[in-house]
C-alpha cells in the first residue's frame, strides 16, 4: 500500500495532485483545464502555473496560491514535496513526493523534446511512477517538429493566395508553434485569434520571445492572404474564419499522425506537433526512472500497462474520470 491513493490523494497530509473537483488543498502540475481546476482551497504550483491559472480563471480562483520553485523541497508534515520541470508547457511540473523512504513521482503531462517555451524536462528517480499515457500506443512516434514546420512553410510558399489557418490549443501549443516558426526563420507577423492573445502576452512577459503578432480580427481579407493565422481548434470553422482567403486548414497536434483522423476533421495540412511524450519516450522514461510500480493515467492505458508487465514491472491503469480522455483539449 502506497502513501498515495488511486485518486492521487496524498494520504498522510490529505493533499490531492490535480484533483478533478474542488478540494481543500491541491498541487497543480500545469495550467491546462483538465489538470488545473478552479475553486480549490489552497493551490501549490510553480510561479508560471499560478500566473496562468490567475490569468485564465481570475486572481481569486482559489482560496490561496503558494508558489514553489523547481527543485526546492517543501516539507508538509512528514511528506517532502519537490517540483521538477516536465517540459510540457510553460511552468509544467512533475511532482516528487517522499515519505518514510518511499518516493512517488507524478509526471503530469510531459515531453522530453527541446522546447524554448517550456522549462526542459528533468528525469527524476522514484519507486512508484504515475505517468500520463496520452500517446500510449506504438503507432505514436512523433516526427521532428522542425520537419513539420518545414512542410507548413513549404505549403505557405506554394499557395500565396491562401491563408494558412492553424488550429492549436491556446495555452502552450500556440506559443510552441510560434516559437518553432521563429526558429525556422519565419519573421512575418503571425495573426492570432482573440482567444490566444492574453496567454501569448503572458508568455512574452515571462521572458519567452515570440516575435511580431497581430489580431486576425482586425486584418482585412487581402492582408491575410498568404499569412499564417493561429486559432483554437474549436474555432476553426466559426464564422470569423470566413474572412480568411480560401484557408488551408491545418491542425498542430500529436493526433494528426493518423491521416484518417485528419480527414475526419477536414484537416488539409496535419502538423504532427505534440507536447506529450510519444510511445518511445514514455517507455524510455519509465525505464530510466527506475520505478518498480507504474500507474498509468489518462490516455491509452492498456498498451502501456501491458508493456510494463512484459518488462517485469508492476503496473495498473488509474481510471480517473475527468481527465480529458480524448486528449484533444489538453493537446
Amino acid at each position: 500500500m502506497s502513501f498515495i491513493d488511486r485518486h492521487l490523494r496524498i494520504l498522510p497530509i490529505d493533499v490531492y495532485v490535480d484533483p478533478v473537483g474542488p478540494q481543500d488543498r491541491a498541487i497543480i502540475t500545469h495550467g491546462h483545464g483538465d489538470h488545473a481546476r478552479r475553486d480549490h482551497g489552497h493551490v501549490l504550483a510553480t510561479p508560471d502555473t499560478i500566473a496562468i491559472m490567475q490569468a485564465r480563471y481570475g486572481e481569486d480562483s482559489a482560496g490561496s496560491f503558494q508558489a514553489l520553485d523547481y527543485g526546492v523541497p517543501l516539507m508538509i508534515d512528514e511528506v517532502e514535496v519537490t517540483l521538477f520541470p516536465a517540459g510540457h508547457i510553460l511552468g509544467s511540473a512533475q511532482v516528487r513526493l517522499r515519505y518514510r523512504g518511499e518516493t512517488v513521482v507524478v509526471t503530469g503531462d510531459y515531453k522530453r523534446l527541446a522546447d524554448p517555451t517550456a522549462q526542459p524536462f528533468e528525469l527524476v528517480q522514484c519507486n512508484t511512477l504515475v505517468t500520463e499515457a496520452t500517446f500510449g500506443l506504438p503507432v505514436f512516434q512523433h516526427p521532428r517538429p522542425a520537419d513539420e514546420i518545414a512542410r507548413l512553410l513549404k505549403s505557405v510558399a506554394a499557395s500565396p493566395g491562401r491563408s494558412h489557418l492553424i488550429g492549436a490549443y491556446a495555452l502552450g501549443k500556440a506559443q510552441r508553434v510560434m516559437s518553432l516558426l521563429r526558429a525556422s526563420g519565419y519573421d512575418r507577423p503571425i495573426y492570432l485569434h482573440g482567444a490566444m492573445v492574453e496567454l501569448t502576452r503572458l508568455y512574452e512577459n515571462r521572458g519567452i520571445a515570440l516575435g511580431p503578432t497581430k489580431l486576425a480580427l482586425e486584418a482585412s481579407k487581402a492582408e491575410l492572404e498568404g499569412q499564417i493565422v493561429i486559432a483554437p481548434p474549436g474555432a476553426l470553422k466559426d464564422r470569423w474564419s470566413r474572412r480568411l482567403a480560401d484557408p488551408v486548414l491545418a491542425v498542430a497536434s500529436g493526433w494528426m499522425s493518423v491521416k484518417q483522423r485528419a480527414r475526419q476533421g477536414g484537416v488539409e495540412l496535419p502538423l504532427v506537433i505534440s507536447d506529450h511524450a510519444d510511445w518511445n519516450e514514455l517507455r524510455v522514461t519509465i525505464a530510466e526512472t527506475g520505478a518498480a510500480d507504474v500507474w498509468v493515467t489518462h490516455g491509452r492505458e492498456d498498451a502501456l500497462v501491458y508493456w510494463c508487465h512484459q518488462q517485469g514491472l508492476a503496473a495498473s491503469p488509474l481510471n480517473i474520470v475527468g481527465y480529458d480522455e480524448a486528449g484533444e483539449g489538453g493537446e
Binding site: 506504438p138 503507432v139 493518423v258 491521416k259 475526419q264 477536414g266 488539409e268 498498451a303 508493456w307
Partner: protein
Amino acid sequence: MKAFAQLLELLALTPSRNRKLEALTEYFRATPDPDRGFALAILTGAMTFKNVKPAVLREVVTREVDPYLFGLSYDYVGDLGETIALIWPHHGQQQDLPQLGDLVELLETTPKSRLPALIADLLTRAAINERWALVKLATGALRIGLSARLAKTALAEMSGRPVQEIEEIWHGLTIPYTELFTWLEGRGERPDIAHEVRFHPMMLSNPIDEAVDLEKLDPPDFSAEWKWDGIRVQLVLGQGPASLFSRTGDEIGGAFPDLVDNVFGEAVLDGELLVGAGFDPAPFNDLQQRLNRKVASAKHLTDYPAFMRVYDMLFDGREDIRPLPWTERRRRLETWLATHPQTRLDLSPVLPFADWTELAELRRRGAAEHGHEGVMVKLRSSPYVPGRPKGLWYKWKRDPNVVDAVLMYAQRGHGKRSSFYSDYTFGVWKGNELVPIGKAYFGFTDAELKQLDNWVRNNTVQSFGPVREVAKELVFEVAFDSAQVSGRHKSGVALRFPRINRIRWDKPAAEAGTLEEMQVFVEAT
C-alpha cells in the same frame, strides 16, 4: 515514389474535388511512362499483386511488433495500412524508395519467400509519408475517398476528351496504359479495343418526385417495368468469350461462369443480374453470397444459379442502336431474344398501365405481394444516353417499411469514422426481452453522428473490445426494403438495406416495435 506519395496524401486530405483533379492532371502530365500508368492502376484499384496481400504485411509487422500491441493499435487507428505505416519501429537512413515502376516490378517478381524481407527493408528505408503510400499500394486498399471515375475524369481534363470515350475502352487496356497516354497526349490513335471487351457507359435513371413530376409527365409517353432487386449489368456478346460488366465498368464475368459460358449470339445487352432457378429471382441476400468473389464455388453454382433479366439492347449484332428510341430498341431486343432463345437470359416484362394512379397501385401491390423494389418508368422516345440524363428514365421506389427499434450495441466505425461509435445494432421486443434484428451505419447526418457518439459514451453499460453495450433507452426509426427469415439472427428476422430513418430522442423504449409486428413484413416477401 516521392511524387506519388505526395499525390496520395493530397488526395486523401484535400476536401476540394477541383484541387484533387488539378493534382491528378498535374501528376499525369509531369510523370513519365510507365510510372504514371502504374499510379493510374493503383488509383483506380486495377493493380493487384499476386503475392503481396494484407496478411503478408501483417506478418511482416507482427514479427517486429508485439501482436497484442498491434491489435490495440489497429483497433484505435481503424485502418490496417495506416496502422502498419505508423507502428513500424525501425527508421533507417532515409533513402528514396525506387521509382513507382521499379517498385511494382520488385513486388511482382520477388519470390514469395523473400517478400517479407523486401517489404521490411522498404518500410525501414522509407520516410513516413512514403511508408504510408507504400503500404497503401501494397494492400491495394487506398481508402482515401477517391473514385476510379475521378481519376478517369482527370485524364479527360488533361486531354480534352470526354470521359465516356475513356470509359468505353478502359476495360480493354492493360497496365501501364502507355497506349492510352499516347492517345490522350495526341501522339497517336485511340487504342483499338476489341468490341467484346468494350464497356458502354450505362444510362441511369432519376428518382421520381411524386409531387412535381407526375403532374407534368403524360402516361402514354412512358413505359413501365418492375425495378428488379439485383445488380445492374451489361453483357457483351460477340466472337470471343462474353464480358459481363458492372455499372462502374468492372469485369465481373469471372464470378459468374454459369452465366457468361452459357450465352450466345452477338449483342450488347443491359439488364439485371439475379440468382435463382427457373428465372425465379431469389432474394438479394442470395445474390450477395456470390458478389465480391473472384470465383464461384461449385455449391454457389448449384444453390444460386445466375441469370440476367434483360431490359435494353445497345448493340444488335454489330449495329449500334443506342440512338434509336426505346420502343425500337425494345422491339429489336424482343426479336433477338426470340431468335436466340437462351437458358440464362430472359426478358423484363413491360407493365401496362393507363395512368399514374394505376401504376401507383401496381407498385404498391408489387411491393406488398412480391417484394418488388418499385417500378422503372422510361420515356418511350428516349435514346440510350450514357450518364444520368434528365427527363428520360425514372425510378419510382416503393415506400420503405419502417419499424421503431431500440439501440442495443454500438461499435466504432472504420476509416474516417474510426473514433466514432457509428455502427449500431438494434432490436425489437420479444416479450420483455430485446432481440437484435439488424445493424445500420448510415442514415444520419454528421451532426447526428456526434450526438449519437456522445450518447453511446455516456450510456455504456459494458464494453467488449470495440463494441459497447448501451442502456436500452434510445429508439431509432429504422427504414428497410424488406425483411427475411434468418437462421443467423436470434430474432429469426433479417432486414434488407436497413438505415436509420430518424432518431426518436422523444420515444420511450418500451413503445418500440415487437417481433410479432415484424412477422407482417416477413410474410410480404
